[in-house]
């Protein structure tokens, strides 16, 4: 729609089946004292013709003047079709004086209802110019409204995020206190278990009881210790590190477990530039991901460990990483990817994998704190942890970290 320029002729479509009524419009426009600087008046004799004309105009009309009684359509229905075909074009109806209908049409979005018998040239021109301006303002208002809605949604999401972060922080603080207090009673139970274990007994039930108690203490200790880890101070000791070296350390750590389960590990590590990271914490993340992968494939399975680097744009295109949230276009990143060929995560559980205490493992096997800690660690580095189901079936976990700024170019983003 031409809205700004006074130099462009106004393009007006008159939808009118009656020749004499069209002639009236044409001559009024020609005879008005203040004619819009050039105008082009086109005619459609039927709704079908009008819709064809609308769809074939690349830049659209500025105005549609419509008689709603057409050979192939009548009344409000005509208006509805026209508006749907040209939602951003001002539509003014020319009628015979049915003012109730006129009011209904305006409520539905018509700019005005003009009575043919009361039309004068100046009135028509004024009506046209004002309708165009009103429509322009309406469209602008709707656009601003949509922007506002989007902004409100973003704000709401950010607020929820903040509330969640604050909850986690309080939970963390509480967890630290609870963990410490619980460990003392656990220590005493352990002492008691040790005491009775040493009084050798042939009674199977006694031995079973003690063994179960021992396992329970170990299990409770694991959970409580993970809670402590979760709440630990969030200080990072960040240095430029080759991510591959951390991957190798993590693989070393789980080597025994993987070997025991006869799990094959395929490595595809590319040379990487240094990235800023707290080596110990990233190793913790990778060990966690590797352990999850090994549990997923169980015996005789396969895991692929890959590393690569690139800029965010390049990776978005070639590695299918889609949006990378806080990482910006042009950021250089390194990625550690662990892919298992297990059954994958049930799709209904996938949205919850990063929730603390959520686990898909059988009772007692995992505490579920692992991935939420890993995600926190990744985000503390300004990076990301992503978990996806892939095909052939399995899970792909990607740890994405920013590269260190180049010594000669301190800010790679500029």
């Amino acid at each position: 729609m031409n809205t700004e320029s006074q130099n462009e002729p106004l393009r007006i479509l008159c939808v009118e089946g009656e020749d004499k009524d069209f002639e009236q419009v044409r001559s009024h426009l020609a005879g008005a004292r203040r004619v819009p600087a050039g105008h082009r008046l086109e005619r459609a004799r039927s709704l079908e013709e009008a819709l064809r004309a609308i769809s074939s105009q690349p830049s659209g009309y500025d105005m549609i003047l419509a008689n709603l009684s057409l050979p192939d359509s009548g009344g409000e229905e005509t208006f509805i079709h026209l508006q749907k075909a040209a939602p951003e074009v001002a539509v003014t109806v020319l009628g015979l004086g049915d003012h109730d209908m006129g009011l209904r049409l305006v409520k539905m979005g018509a700019q005005e209802y003009l009575c043919k018998d009361e039309l004068t040239p100046d009135l028509l021109v004024r009506a046209i110019l004002q309708a165009i301006e009103r429509k322009r303002l309406q469209v602008e208002l709707e656009r601003l409204n949509r922007d506002l809605q989007a902004a409100t949604e973003n704000l709401r999401a950010a607020q929820l995020h903040l509330i969640q972060a604050e909850k986690l922080h309080s939970l963390g603080r509480m967890a630290a206190g609870v963990a410490h207090e619980v460990k003392n009673p656990l220590a005493m139970i352990q002492m008691a278990v040790d005491f009775f274990k040493n009084r050798a007994s042939d009674d199977d039930k006694e031995r079973f009881m003690l063994s179960a108690m021992q396992e329970s203490v170990q299990r409770a200790t694991r959970i409580v210790t993970e809670m402590q880890d979760f709440s630990r101070s969030h200080d990072l000791e960040v240095k430029p590190v080759d991510l591959n070296s951390v991957i190798e350390k993590a693989l070393e750590f789980v080597a025994h477990e993987l070997q025991q389960a006869r799990i094959e590990v395929v490595r595809q590590l590319s040379p990487l530039p240094p990235a800023e990271m707290d080596r110990q914490k990233i190793e913790q993340v990778l060990i966690n991901l590797l352990t999850n992968a090994s549990h997923a494939v169980e015996r005789n399975g396969r895991i692929k460990v890959r590393s690569f680097h690139g800029t965010v744009d390049h990776l978005l295109m070639h590695e299918g990483l889609r949006t990378l949230e806080h990482l910006r276009q042009g950021d250089e990143v390194v990625v550690a990817e662990i892919r298992d060929y297990g059954p994958g995560i049930p799709p209904d559980k996938l949205p919850y994998v990063f929730d603390p205490f959520f686990t898909t493992k059988p009772t007692g096997k995992g505490t579920g704190l692992g991935l939420s800690i890993c995600k926190t660690i990744a985000e503390m580095h300004g990076g990301l942890l992503r978990i996806h189901n892939v095909h052939p079936p399995g899970v792909r976990a990607q740890l994405i970290l920013r590269c260190s700024p180049h010594p000669l170019n301190p800010d790679p983003v500029t």
């Binding site: 460990k183 003392n184 220590a187 352990q190 005491f195 040493n198 203490v217 210790t225």
Partner: protein
């Protein structure tokens, strides 16, 4: 064979007593307990332990301050200390059972008896041998 003398320092009275029962049951240790960090230096001078098991979080002087006081005393500074504490997290403990801290060891609570005994024996053995650098 002479039993090794162990001094247990923990404000958690029951825990300290249970530790004593378990260590003495092995037949290798003579154990004394105190429940207040304020008494450590006095008791250590009387009991002359070969090793001290020390809790960290205690009312009054914490384990770190007690260690400091012991090291300040010429007759006590050579006594090896093993800290047993609920403060140690999995990260710290994961590297093995001990975390070396200023020449002393840390064990996480809860601790299984056989781990504790191995730690004690290791510390006593390294004390008996001339100290390696």
């Amino acid at each position: 064979m002479n039993k090794s003398r162990i001094l247990v320092v923990d404000d958690e009275v029951n825990f300290a007593k249970m530790l004593r029962f378990n260590l003495e049951a092995t037949g290798d240790f003579e154990v004394d307990c105190i429940y207040s960090s304020a008494e450590v230096v006095t008791r250590a001078l009387e009991f002359r332990p070969d090793l001290i098991l020390l809790d960290i979080v205690m009312p009054g002087l914490d384990g770190g301050s007690v260690k400091h006081d012991l090291e300040a005393h010429p007759k006590l500074r050579q006594i090896p200390i093993i800290f047993i504490t609920a403060l140690v997290s999995k990260e710290d403990a994961e590297g093995g059972l001990f975390v070396e801290s200023g020449g002393h060891c840390m064990l996480p609570k809860p601790v299984e008896l056989h781990h504790l005994i191995r730690a004690i024996e290791t510390r006593l053995a390294s004390r008996a041998a001339p100290a390696a650098s």
